[in-house]
């Protein structure tokens, strides 16, 4: 269970972690925590799954990579089989079942646009299903902030 100090850490550190030789000491000072306690608490938040990880959030597209959101309509009796094919691809980062005729939505991230097209083709070939590619054409959001 997270306590008030953990919540303070999650709320204050969703960005802006210092780029300096002793960043935990510097960030801790702002939260009135010493370096060792901040490190221990972050380690516990990660190991208990309260946070996914602690570090840089890399943006694949800005590094020459390619990312897309794709969807398919899996027949209900084949859903688990299709999910296994899609999720087995290393390039599939997230895969969600959703309540729509297009019932499986997944994010594919690759090093190159050509590889992205190839992964979608592999999924089409291995599932025998149409895969609808929905790459972002424009992005309209500020910054993700979740209050713990």
């Amino acid at each position: 269970m997270m306590d008030d100090t953990d919540r303070k850490i999650v709320n204050a550190l969703q960005g802006g972690f210092p780029l300096s030789p002793r960043p935990f000491a510097e960030a801790g000072a702002r939260l009135q925590l010493d370096e060792g306690e901040l490190i221990d608490r972050i380690g516990r938040l990660v190991s208990e799954g309260d946070i996914s990880r602690f570090g840089p959030l890399w943006n694949a597209e800005k590094m020459g990579g390619a990312v897309t959101l794709a969807a398919l309509a899996a027949p209900p009796e084949r859903f688990d089989e299709i999910a296994a094919i899609v999720s087995a691809k290393d390039e599939v980062a997230h895969n969600y079942a959703r309540d729509h005729a297009l019932n499986m939505w997944f994010v594919v991230a690759t090093e190159t646009p050509a590889r992205l097209a190839a992964v979608l083709d592999e999924i089409r070939a291995e599932t025998g299903l149409a895969v609808y590619d929905c790459p972002k054409l424009a992005e309209y959001f500020l910054e993700l902030r979740l209050v713990a």
């Binding site: 780029l19 890399w58 980062a93 997230h94 609808y132």
Partner: protein, 161 residues
């Protein structure tokens, strides 16, 4: 953005699962990738400035924080109005991602996606009503797709690793 070199790729590989949780994490990364701490810091500064790193810190787990409900709201918006509408919807504090994406008629008519997180399904629906009021008559139709199961969730794996 300039191409990544071998050191950048090794830094990505060494950090995409998280920073080392020790007093001098950047020095630890420098030792792992074979460069100096100053070089690691300079490269991370530059990637942050270019947007190759969105931010550095806590990457939350929505589910653990109690945001169990996530609804992908999707809207069929007049192409002439979609950028203006997208900016207004994307500025709402409960919308975590907002994108224009291509339609695939007839199965998929929607061109604006706004991801809404909340602690309950009813909370998500109330927020989507708020978006509907903002969009008004520029949307011809909308829908919300709740996630019924997480089938896979890993961090993006990039950078030649």
């Amino acid at each position: 953005m300039s191409a990544l070199d071998a050191i950048d790729r090794r830094i990505i590989a060494a950090t995409q699962g998280g920073l080392p949780l020790e007093p001098t994490p950047y020095r630890a990364i420098a030792e792992t990738v074979g460069t100096t701490e100053d070089d690691v810091l300079a490269r991370l500064e530059s990637h942050l400035a270019s947007g190759a790193i969105r931010r550095i810190g806590v990457i939350p787990n929505h589910y653990a924080l109690g945001y169990q409900a996530n609804g992908m709201s999707v809207w069929d918006v007049d192409d002439e109005a979609v950028d203006e509408i997208g900016r207004r919807v994307g500025a709402l504090d409960f919308v975590t991602h907002c994108y224009r994406r291509p339609r695939h008629p007839p199965i998929w008519r929607y061109n604006l996606f706004a991801m809404v997180h909340d602690k309950s399904r009813d909370g998500v629906l109330a927020k989507i009503d708020e978006i509907a009021r903002i969009i008004g008559r520029s949307a011809f139709a909308h829908d919300v797709l709740f996630s019924t199961r997480v089938l896979k969730k890993t961090g993006l794996r990039i950078g030649g690793v």
